[in-house]
Symmetry: C2
Subunit: 418 residues, 2 copies
């Protein structure tokens, strides 16, 4: 029934559609022939139109009923647009400075209209490839994650609200299944979707698929992903879902949003910074020419975690007046016990985050979806070398994460695996 | 609206009600005046009528909109009858030999009619107090738990079915909240509901409330309880929810059923066996007169875990043809990796089970709801001594559970804490 009201919009149809939605037409100003429409979707999943009118601009995003980069053979639920809209709204409530405002959501059409993150905003991944420093990035992303994760968790909510929110998010199961498949299964098995730099990494991939330690670890991480309803996640928080300038950070594209383990979001961001780190050798004009930049990336990983932990703890401390149901004040009633509880919580979260970061790195090197950071390295031997380092680092992080007690220690490993 | 269709049944009204439900009246045979009706609810939560007619018998259980043993001031959702009926049906599908069959469920009336577990069935807790040996208990309960937990988990289900089942069970949130309160919070704080053998245990209770290690542990267990949707649990699997003869075992009363961590059910059963173990000194006519019986209880704890692990593994091995989504066969594709994955899974589950067992022991000694095993010990000094041992054992189990790698090791601790 709902499906019958869906039709995919091309540029012309998008313009006609916008003309019919008064608040959007008004925001753009003038009349449809004055509007400049451009499709900019980078091609994985959805159509994204940037629309600029005489008065204002917006972005129109529409889900397709299949994976765009694979084709109609791989069906994909339109409902993801609903979860994206929901998550964007929740995030906007909590951290409006880091999220494009939603102007309009059309459920049957799977269409979202949102604020255009105007130039000079670019996708963070592209900035990292160009070697641009973003001095506010760690600060902004630690803000975004600490608030979105804290306030959707049992640290801020009562059991009733938390369970209801988690139950609602369960309907995004198709997207969770996709994640399970491409992150937690396929990289560790033979699958037609998989690809890697061949023959350079053939041996590494073979070793990966025979690494029973690693497979035991990924099983545990997958169980946490599937079974732990800790907080409302973005669900796809890589550097391609973040738009930046030197002073501004905007998080887009939460279509994979669901209630899951916090470490999955934190790990996604960390993983993609580490991938950028290991890819720098492929982008520097001269040998070691990106040394300072690599240092900045490492520092950003470290600043991100440190700031996240500090801000998350600050929210926790502040929530004393209206706490969630997780830590009842009458039980956690002394500075000592609160400190211990927070320490334990953070240790577990750090361990989770490293594990999920490792999983996300591995899948970007041997799975279906790679990252431009590495793909854009023209010299395949250089690329393979970068990829091998990243892969070895990921294996180490996944296996040793329980023993790494601080971000400084983890950072050290990154410096060592070269 | 639904609430308006509810009315509590006394014995007379119950008889009239049964007369109106043709299949039930027929099962009983004769006419209402031939039916023998007796209320046997042990008083915590619900009305339970045993009804015997000329042809057959049944049990009629009705939920009350409040906690029966506290009074109308503590409201309690009638919806729990719905979750009880659902769980009974699911369990009956999987392990019919251990569950009374449901004959009838009336949602607005919160009434369940089920098979009467006839004498000589008695509540296991009462048998344990009397010192009766149940040679089949470990075998039956390991059957019950291994099948109900395995087949509702991602080891047997695909992600879609698993998430939908978990989402449905979320509506039993009121019962989860009650568990959170009485198991994971109140025992560790001052609360009007709490009671303990005083003044004998005053010092122990004070120490418990100042034990920040323990409070850090209970926070972790509570998070698992609230956030981990691993399997459909019974939710209240103590020895008062099990009816036994020497050859038969029936599990009743799953009104707390929800998707949670498997260790919560396993721990509940283990905890109540251990409480029975430590209470034996209070029941033996002569000093040490229940030594053999204590030995049998310990052996039953150990047999239960060992058989559970073996049967759970057997289901896992058997499920190769239609496995759930947790362990994709193409990834877990050698005996070595399967063995390692199973080992890791069981280690984590054992650790969880010990933690939840400890939590359940503690709350039965210092919280709102105590157990007859200890309450029925007339000499308060003897009782306090038994309780102190159980409490010390629980504290040890909760804090050391990560280091206890086998049931034999755990058993040893039980022998040591005297
Ligand atoms: N609000 C926005 N402002 C500016 N550009 C955007 C906005 N949303 C999306 N884009 C552009 O469209 C691309 C694809 O958008 P995204 O939401 O990531 O779609 P997909 O789910 O298909 O990956 C982004 O990489 C970005 O370049
Ligand atoms: N199917 C049954 N057969 C025999 N006795 C039962 C049955 N169900 C309940 N009872 C008796 O009623 C008591 C209370 O039942 P239970 O389901 O545990 O209720 P509550 O939820 O109030 O604890 C049990 O302890 C048992 O003695
Ligand atoms: Mg995207
Ligand atoms: Mg996307
Ligand atoms: Mg109970
Ligand atoms: Mg009961
Ligand atoms: Mg009950």
């Amino acid at each position: 029934e709902e499906r019958r009201k869906y039709r995919p919009l091309d540029e012309k149809a998008a313009s006609e559609y916008l003309a019919m939605v008064a608040p959007l037409a008004e925001r753009l100003g003038g009349s449809p022939q004055d509007w400049n429409i451009k499709e900019v979707g980078d091609g994985n999943m959805n159509f994204v139109y940037i629309v600029v009118g005489p008065r204002g601009s917006l972005v129109l995003k529409q889900a397709l009923p299949y994976v765009r980069c694979v084709g109609e053979s791989w069906a994909m639920t339109l409902e993801r647009a609903y979860f994206e809209a929901n998550a964007l709204r929740k995030e906007f409530e909590l951290v409006p400075e880091y999220v494009p405002e939603i102007f309009h959501f059309d459920h049957p059409m799977a269409v979202i209209a949102m604020r255009y993150c105007e130039p000079p905003h670019i996708i963070l991944r592209k900035g990292l490839i160009q070697g641009i420093v973003y001095p506010r990035l760690a600060d902004h992303m630690s803000d975004f994650t600490s608030k979105t994760l804290f306030f959707s968790s049992l640290l801020a909510l009562d059991t009733h609200k938390h369970k209801m929110a988690a139950a609602q998010s369960y309907a995004n199961v198709e997207m969770c299944r996709l994640t399970e498949q491409v992150i937690f299964s396929e990289p560790y098995m033979e699958a037609p979707n998989n690809r890697w730099t061949s023959p350079q990494l053939d041996e590494d991939v073979r070793a990966l698929r025979e690494d029973i330690e690693l497979k035991a670890e990924i099983a545990e991480l997958k169980a946490r992903f599937c079974e732990r309803t800790q907080a409302l996640l973005h669900g796809d928080l890589h550097t391609g879902s973040i738009m930046v300038t030197e002073t501004s950070t905007k998080v887009i594209d939460p279509e994979f949003s669901f209630y899951g383990p916090m470490g999955f979001d934190l790990g996604a961001f960390i993983a993609n910074l580490i991938l950028a780190y290991y890819s720098q050798d492929g982008h520097s004009a001269t040998e070691g020419g990106r040394e300072d930049y690599r240092g900045w990336i490492l520092q950003t990983v470290s600043d991100f975690w440190t700031s996240f932990a500090a801000k998350f703890k600050r929210e926790w401390d502040r929530s004393r007046d209206s706490p969630g149901d997780a830590y009842v004040p009458a039980v956690y009633n002394s500075p000592e016990v609160i400190e211990l509880a927070q320490k334990r919580f953070m240790e577990e979260l750090f361990c989770d985050s490293l594990g999920f970061a490792a999983a996300k790195m591995i899948r970007r090197i041997v799975g279906i979806a790679h990252v431009e950071d590495l793909e854009s390295i023209a010299n395949v031997d250089v690329r393979a070398k970068c990829e091998r380092r990243a892969l070895n680092c990921a294996k180490l992080l996944m296996k040793q994460r329980r023993k790494l007690s601080s971000i400084a220690e983890a950072q050290l490993k990154l410096r060592i695996v070269q």
